[in-house]
């Protein structure tokens, strides 16, 4: 009988106070408690973090790389979203 597949989890670490959790890799574990324990052993052996998240890989919805242009290209032309688009006379000082 083939062995049952053990679910895949994505691991995120907050490396320092004030920083966001960042994706570091993945691992297999039967449940959330074991995933957290394994994440600690596999990804934080040298003080890499202060906090861990584990998320079932199946729960992640990702954009399709093929849609990259449709998704992200339009922002390139919207230069009026940037402060440098607007002119403020030097006499006004820093703004």
């Amino acid at each position: 009988m083939p062995e049952q597949k053990i679910p895949l989890w994505e691991v995120f670490i907050r490396s320092r106070n004030g920083l966001a959790h960042k994706h570091v890799g993945s691992l297999h574990a039967a449940d959330a408690a074991m995933a957290l324990q394994a994440a600690r052993d596999v990804y934080t052996r040298r003080g890499e973090g202060l906090s861990l998240w584990v998320v079932p890989s199946a729960a992640i919805v990702a954009s399709d790389p093929a849609d990259k242009d449709v998704m992200f290209e339009p922002t390139a032309s919207k230069i009026y979203r940037h402060p440098t688009f607007y002119e403020v006379p030097d006499e006004v000082g820093h703004m």
Partner: protein, 337 residues
């Protein structure tokens, strides 16, 4: 550690549709521009296959590589050495897991990769089929085997495949400790009694040539290098990496007061390189073919460990399912009026 160009040549890539040719050209342009390829990006099947094979072999090597060193954990000479060896072997387990994760992003499951190893269909680095006969072997492995691995792995941090490159960055950060603790063991033995120094010399004698083989066959016979270089999976040839390793390692051995088991080893002033003698490639072939001193023992230990852990995996899954079922039932209970 330890990727090695091991397997047979890939079958010829089937001729794709014009659309595929177009995508392949765009893919190569991205590689040429030093962009990283990510799991969901389109990639040629041969690129996927090559990487799956290389990364999984690399992962298997980390895992099998725990066995020769694990052999000495209970017999380490001091508590400090024991703690360091335990930490190193645990790191190697971690390296295996980072690498299996990276390999899985290419679409082959962990179970399938384990299966390939345990069924003898996948290879792992030849070096782990040699025995660790004395404590000095633990020093020699850290110094030489991890040293060779570092040479191999540093360029892989810039590999075109993102998950592999990122895994290698983590691995490289940890390898330096491995090499230094090994060298320190050698140094301690070399400064010890004549018997201890002889033990260190004996370990160097046995590990030196197999370590040079870790870089894989000579460039003239290497089967993957051209395509791997074009894909920026491999950035230096086997012989280039081997030479870098020899150049870095010979002075370290001289500092220890040890003699390399190679009468032809000589410094080439003009080129600025240490020239080494002929490597016994027949031995390399034999070890890869399963006829090294420990191949059968290593595979048996892996298979036994995997089989002995089956009930734990089953129990963990059964427990998780039971908890999930109970949680679902609790949710389904109607609220009391």
């Amino acid at each position: 550690m330890y990727t090695q160009a091991l397997n047979a040549r890939e079958n010829a890539v089937p001729v794709g549709s014009p659309e595929d040719a177009d995508r392949a050209a765009r893919f190569q342009a991205r590689i040429d521009a030093e962009e990283r390829i990510e799991p969901n990006d389109w990639m040629p099947e041969a690129y996927r296959r090559t990487l799956t094979r290389q990364i999984s072999q690399h992962a298997h090597s980390e895992i099998v590589g725990m066995l020769p060193e694990g052999n000495w954990i209970t017999r380490a000479p001091t508590l400090k050495r024991k703690a360091a060896l335990l930490a190193k072997v645990q790191d190697e387990a971690g390296h295996g897991l980072y690498l299996y994760s990276a390999a899985e992003t290419l679409g082959t499951s962990r179970e399938e990769l384990f299966d390939q190893l345990l069924a003898g269909r996948a290879k792992y680095s030849s070096i782990f089929n040699y025995p660790t006969l004395t404590w000095a072997d633990i020093g020699a492995i850290g110094w030489l085997v991890d040293g060779a691995a570092i040479m191999n792995q540093i360029p892989l941090c810039r590999c075109s495949y993102g998950p592999y490159a990122r895994a290698m960055i983590r691995v490289c950060k940890e390898e330096s400790f491995h090499q230094r603790q090994g060298y320190e063991i050698m140094l301690t033995l070399c400064r010890g009694t004549p018997e201890q120094k002889a033990m260190a010399q004996d370990a160097l004698n046995r590990w030196w040539w197999p370590c040079l083989m870790m870089f894989g066959p000579p460039d003239a016979e290497s089967q993957h290098s051209d395509q791997s270089a074009k894909w920026k999976i491999k950035r230096f040839s086997n012989d280039e990496l081997r030479q870098k390793f020899v150049d870095a390692t010979v002075p370290q051995g001289q500092y220890l007061g040890l003699t390399f088991p190679d009468p032809d080893l000589a410094y080439d002033e003009a080129a600025g390189h240490w020239r080494y003698g002929r490597i016994d490639w027949e031995e390399f072939k034999q070890v890869l073919a399963g006829n090294g001193p420990c191949n059968r023992q290593r595979m048996k230990q892996r298979r036994d460990a995997h089989a002995a852990g089956a009930w734990v995996r089953e129990a963990a899954m059964a427990h998780a399912e039971k908890r999930a079922r109970r949680a679902a039932q609790a949710d389904a209970v109607p609220q009391a009026a």
